[in-house]
Symmetry: C2
Subunit: 296 residues, 2 copies
């Protein structure tokens, strides 16, 4: 019997914890919010108002938190995970945070004798509820082997990306390409329209040619060609501009700390920053097509 | 029996003309170059040193030329196609040129009673030789119907994109996305490397996630993951930087004339312009990954 402590029962964490309960695992949860704790209790878990209580009996600690600063505080704080967890407990941080903090916390875990992996996800709230998240995992092969069966009830894909921090690196590199390709596809639809090209016609050409990309064929930013894409639902997320803006911020932190050269990544970050400044954080990130056209 | 006049027997035009000969069509060709004319004659065609002679008996005139100015001169000039073609001849311009010139020449053709389509291609020299080009066709439905069976021996895909100029519009919009996604993928590999992420690992994550795109999974800019991509052959083209630079120039002309807003497209054009300025026009366009890393 594996006891799991789940730290952070928000929009992502709570449905993930429910999938662990559904796999007959014991889940002791922590969240600052009364409502979040009640949500876990209603689903059959045990909710606690201190980290110490939640992790006391845990074989595995999983966290799903909004920022690197909070991850650091939760793990390294006086009342945090490291001070209160059992010897030998496995740590899995599924938050999306900066690579540097992920590596710092994993190093501290190692120094204290804990195995730890970073395991950020893609798939959003829908994937969390359905148990079909993709986990990008950074850490030792041994830690990855231990973490995999725990992640299984929550995920459809679990990929080992290398050493600590590499899960975060893979996620921000992926999402940087996603932002760039979504903006590129949006610019092309806007230009095509200005030249008299029908949306569906451009889609039919591009989807079968070298412009093919997930942003076009799975998440098309114009209504019509891909019925499930948020463009058909007035750009309700989906994947909100605020989340893309956060991920691009993490990417640009990594660019700065590593001295890499990403002019398109910078431009994408600037464009989503402007959408945030204009108050459009809650619009799906494919709404950038309207932002670029001046119609958002 | 259909008589075809083929104007422009270069790297693309000659193999295209050969595929027409292979389909038992009569081809009368014109090119300024002795060598090009000899190439057509060797393949069983008849080569002429004036446009007037080449088009005299033609039911269909096909052109494959390097620029809009040359297309205009070839069709509208004193010794050009319009002055010398038979009444009712069909005109097919497969050159990649600016939308405005394509529409001007088609309008002039119409005024003179000729059907004309713009039909730029993708697929490169390899596709021209194999007869597997993709034709993006702009013009009336009637002209498209007449042109399709003529294009068939040269192409694997023939798409009607709408009115005159829309073939050019579809091609430049497609290639603008291609340039943007190639640069985006290249930045992500470079950033991943700087963060300690293995190329193949990032490929495996991204190819199955929202960063998937043709630039990644069919034309990967790092050696290894996609064996046929030019990255495995020291960035020999493939699709040369000079050609991508040309297409982005045409896209930026269309942006300017239509008042569209394409910040990523502009940045892509600037980046390939710099590669040209640095003398790398003959490097495959996926070599932008080395340009960005400062190792080209």
């Amino acid at each position: 019997m594996t006891n799991i402590a789940f730290i952070g029962l928000g929009n992502m964490g709570l449905p993930m914890a429910k999938n662990l309960l559904g796999a007959d695992l014991t889940v002791h949860g922590f969240d600052l919010s009364d409502e979040a704790r009640a949500g876990l209790a209603d689903a059959g878990g045990s909710a606690f108002s201190t980290i110490a209580e939640a992790v006391a009996d845990a074989d595995v600690v999983i966290s799903m938190l909004p920022s690197g600063a909070i991850v650091k505080a939760v793990y390294e704080g006086e009342d945090g995970v490291f001070k209160n967890a059992k010897a030998g407990a496995l740590m899995i941080d599924s938050s999306t945070i900066d690579v540097t903090t992920a590596r710092d916390v994993a190093q501290e875990a190692k120094a204290l004798g804990f195995d730890m992996v970073d395991a950020p996800v893609s798939g959003g709230v829908g994937g969390a509820a359905a148990g079909t998240l993709a986990f990008m995992v950074g850490g030792s092969a041994a830690a990855f082997s231990k973490a995999s069966p725990i992640l299984e009830p929550m995920g459809a894909k679990i990929v080992h990306c290398g050493a600590s921090g590499n899960g975060q690196a893979a996620k921000i590199c992926n999402n940087m390409v996603l932002a760039i390709s979504m903006i590129g596809v949006s610019e092309a639809f806007n230009l095509g329209r200005a030249l008299g090209l029908d949306d569906q016609t451009f889609y039919d050409v591009a989807a079968n040619a070298s412009a093919q990309c997930w942003s076009l064929t799975s998440y098309c930013p114009v209504p019509g060609p891909v019925p499930a894409s948020p463009a058909n639902n007035d750009y309700q997320p989906g994947f909100a501009t605020a989340l893309m803006h956060k991920d691009l911020g993490l990417a640009m932190e990594a660019v700065a700390s590593s001295g890499s050269n990403t002019p398109m990544g910078h431009l994408a970050a600037d464009i989503y920053e402007t959408m945030m400044d204009n108050g459009h954080g809650d619009v799906d990130f494919s709404g950038v097509i309207k932002h670029l056209a001046g119609t958002l």
